[in-house]
């Protein structure tokens, strides 16, 4: 039996309203796996026509979705289907009611490798975010009282609590 090979694309969805600002974007996405799947399929139909849609939708699937960090892992069959899907990702500009932008972070051959990459990346970013919680004198102070912590979070993310 011949093995069916796939490619997994790790994609981050960024909101266009928070691209140029230096604050962290903490609001979760209000979209499900179905919404993302439909948005990519519609763009495929516009760009590659009937052939594009027919060839790619056989093996295409959303394998992992994290709304808090806005990361999606998309799967497609190796070869033409994956090439067509990867070439339409820059053109996807809206999912549901929000306007977003896609950036591919990594292309893997198995799910395991894509999740290994994700783990390393999240650890690196977590360290960077922890550094924002330093006290004013520059020392690393992670045990803060509640009102101090609230103030610091508001400063970093500009949320309205």
């Amino acid at each position: 039996m011949v093995r069916r090979k796939h490619r997994y694309a790790v994609v981050q969805l960024e909101r266009t309203s928070s691209i140029a600002l230096p604050y962290l974007d903490v609001k979760p996405l209000k979209a499900s796996e179905d919404d993302i799947f439909k948005a990519v399929k519609i763009k495929l139909g516009e760009l590659h026509g009937d052939y594009g849609r027919a060839v790619t939708t056989l093996g295409m699937r959303v394998k992992y979705l994290n709304e808090a960090t806005r990361i999606v892992v998309l799967r497609a069959r190796l070869g033409e289907p994956f090439k067509m899907m990867a070439s339409t990702l820059p053109f996807v500009t809206s999912i549901g009611a929000e306007s977003i932008q896609c950036t591919t972070l990594y292309i893997a051959g198995t799910i395991r490798h894509s999740l290994i990459f994700l783990e390393k990346r999240q650890k690196r970013i977590f360290k960077q975010v922890l550094e924002m919680f330093k006290s004013d004198k520059g020392q690393k102070k992670y045990k803060m009282s509640e009102p101090e912590l609230k103030e610091r979070i508001l400063q970093i993310t500009k949320l309205e609590m």
Binding site: T16, I19, A20, K83, M84, A86, P90, Q101, T103, T104
Partner: protein, 313 residues
């Protein structure tokens, strides 16, 4: 030659308030070099005969725009210990060869690093290729198509010119998308997509995309995967090389015999290179004059020895 990494060679300078925001966003996405572009039409240059447009016309080319960056603006590159390179580029939209009068006079036009051209007809392109040397040949989606053939493409390639395709108009407008895909298909038929670079001409920071995404656009633009990846990295380095060679111009290399101090070994001493003009061996050269010192006299003068002309391409 320093390694340029991923490069985006067209960031327009016109919405002046957002230039720094766009450059910072490009560096965040993974690019290492960026070129800021100023576009000038031939009709806006000042000619003494036409007195009707005196107020709108420019008397000289504008100064190149500069952007000052600190280390907090590019944290990912600073972690690896690299610095971004920011180049300046001038693009001219021409109909015929009259722009050369203004270009040869002004000194500010020669401060730019890269030079691009947008011809409005194939005649304009042929005339420009005969007497003028430039680096990038670009396309404006609001102008009309003109007819390409294999001979014209090959001529431009021989003069170290790269062809540019922009992807930001493809994202925003549907009519422009069709025109750019048709142009890329034409380039494939006429020249197998050799020497193509992909760049954005993004007027907002939202329109920029990461380099892996741009390389994946090769599927729509009828290119191989190899060419797609080259279009973002290797071919941009070639453009930079060609621009440096154009600025340096023709130079000479002189080969001398070194007379050693121990006189007994002098006769059998081999000829060595004594004085070489300061340059690295990989750069392209327009023409080389090598003065061949094949005579056995120890004192060599330029008039006596043979002169060999070598031309490399």
């Amino acid at each position: 030659m320093k390694d340029l990494g991923y490069a985006d060679l067209n960031i327009p300078s016109k919405p002046e308030s957002t230039v720094k925001a766009r450059v910072v966003r490009a560096l965040e996405l993974g690019y290492q070099t960026v070129a800021i572009n100023t576009v000038i039409h031939q009709e806006s240059l000042f000619l003494k005969k036409k007195t009707s447009d005196k107020d709108n016309a420019l008397s000289d080319f504008p100064e190149p725009t500069t952007v000052t960056l600190s280390e907090t603006d590019y944290p990912e590159l600073a972690n690896k210990g690299l610095k971004p390179t920011i180049l300046t580029r001038l693009t001219l939209v021409i109909k015929d060869n009259d722009f050369l009068i203004h270009y040869n006079k002004s000194n500010t036009a020669k401060k730019y690093d890269l030079l691009g051209l947008i011809p409005r007809s194939s005649n304009a392109l042929q005339n420009a290729l005969k007497s003028f040397r430039f680096d990038i040949l670009s396309y404006d989606p609001e102008l009309e198509h003109f007819h390409w053939n294999r001979k014209l493409y090959r001529e431009a390639l021989e003069k170290h010119v790269s062809f540019e395709l922009n992807y930001a108009p493809m994202i925003t407008d549907r009519e422009h998308r069709r025109k750019i895909i048709a142009l890329a298909y034409n380039y494939n038929f006429v020249g197998k997509c050799k020497g193509i670079i992909l760049s954005s001409s993004a007027k907002r920071p939202i329109d920029l995309r990461s380099p892996t995404d741009v390389a994946n656009l090769c599927c729509i633009l009828s290119m191989n995967e190899c060419r797609g990846r080259e279009a973002v990295m290797k071919q941009c380095a070639n453009v930079h090389k060609a621009a440096l060679g154009r600025k340096m111009g023709v130079f000479r290399v002189r080969v001398d015999r070194v007379v050693q101090e121990t006189t007994t070994a002098a006769v059998s001493a081999p000829v060595t290179v004594a004085s070489v003009v300061d340059k690295e061996p990989e750069e392209r050269r327009e023409g080389i004059e090598v003065i061949d010192c094949s005579s056995s006299d120890s004192s060599v003068s330029a008039e006596d020895s043979d002169v060999e002309n070598m031309e490399e391409d």
